[in-house]
Subunit: 257 residues, 2 copies
């Protein structure tokens, strides 16, 4: 039985806590960042200036609790787990945030690489983190994002080992999905991104390279969380890693011709 | 002799007043909207929510006079002609706006269909407005943009007559350039956009259909000007129609794979 997006959201709303990987297949999942209106311009500009790591799928009106990406959804309850940040420090990981919601909060829904992993598999490109049952490896780089107002921080990338002969195909497939991070930012040469040791990711888990694999790096939706940690707004809510918001939008919608 | 973008900007800065169509071929031209910081969040959100008519190529920091799209440029002098708006009314069309610039102004550089007209010609699709030496025909539609804060207004479209057999090619070519309005929003049937008479455009000039031509409609960069007229911010500066900002970015940069 396939689960629809609204059924999946309903279960999380009713208390299910689990990573969303593989839930409601074919529906686009999104990273969540929620900030007070006073910081919303900076975040919107940060997304506009850094579209590869921060592809904005929707931005809500201040105080709104739902998004145009999912009718009837409630952003306060429909993710399985949240993170609450004060002055850039993680203070809590609750399973709903109704008690924390305020009239001045603006929510940012940001594209997620889950959408293109499915497209890679469909094209015959193996996705090692899925094969190995692990979270994808993510790294802080020494590349700075273009700052916006008070927000700045490093580009965070996810890495997927890709067989050398399939690297061009992996580039082509993901290039067609610019709203979910798009083409890789880098192929090979982790050291030129300031990554000393691929086996020591900053976020997620280490994923093993197979013989003949090349490390391919995509801009990652953890980038805005890294900017929050670096820039310390007084208050923010995000999704917890791997516990995304499931939209009603089909992944295919974000496929460019 | 080809003119570079910086040479063209220099001439306008020194006083040349002329439409920019055909100037500095191969370099991306941009629509300009400048608003006080108080309105900048609404405009940025309007662009985020309406990416086809308002594809944001760059947004400046408050008070900045240059853009990352063109090093050494001066947004106050480098367009051949500007429009100044007060409370949604056009009050002046000066050739530079140095005397009007303020520390709280934010500039929005917005993609322009000049980029895709060149791509259409290169692909063998005739561009009737260029053939006829006229400005493209533009129409207010009865389709509303998605509002953002205080900004709302109708979708404005440009129309180009395309030979029926070349309509699919015209769609394919422009779909590859989402940052300069992308694929058409509508093919044929002007009445279903609320356009009663193609020979009476709301902006630009009437362009004659040739036998076998079909009207093809693209989202248009005049849309934000229509929103300014409808939403009446106290102060705004825009480019004058056809008198665009010439960036240092090659048109090919905005071509998706």
């Amino acid at each position: 039985m396939t689960t629809t997006a609204s059924e999946a959201r309903q279960r999380y709303r009713e208390g299910l806590v689990a990573p969303t990987s593989g839930a409601a297949g074919g529906f686009t999942q999104a990273n969540l960042v929620v900030l007070p209106a006073d910081w919303a311009f900076d975040m919107l500009l940060f997304g506009q200036r850094n579209p590869k790591p921060v592809p904005l799928l929707d931005v809500t009106d201040p105080g709104a609790t739902t998004t145009a990406l999912a009718e009837g959804s409630d952003l306060r309850t429909d993710l399985p787990r949240y993170r609450v940040w004060r002055d850039g420090e993680l203070v809590e990981e609750p399973t709903e945030v109704t008690h924390l919601w305020r009239d001045d909060l603006v929510a940012f829904l940001i594209g997620c690489s889950f959408s293109f992993e499915r497209a890679l598999l469909d094209a015959g490109v193996p996705v090692r983190n899925i094969e190995q049952g692990r979270n994808v490896s993510m790294y802080r780089t020494d590349v700075d994002c273009r700052p916006a107002g008070r927000l700045s921080g490093p580009l965070v990338v996810s890495m997927r080992p890709v067989p050398a002969s399939l690297v061009p195909l992996a580039v082509q497939v993901t290039a067609r999905m610019p709203q979910v991070h798009g083409a890789p930012v880098h192929v090979g040469s982790p050291e030129s991104l300031g990554i000393a040791d691929l086996s020591q990711p900053d976020f997620g888990e280490a994923v093993e390279m197979q013989p003949g694999d090349v490390p391919v790096f995509w801009a990652c939706g953890v980038t805005p969380q890294a900017a929050l940690m670096a820039s310390r707004p007084p208050f923010a809510i995000t999704h917890a890693p791997g516990h995304m918001f499931i939209t009603d939008v089909a992944d295919a919608f974000y496929l460019e011709p």
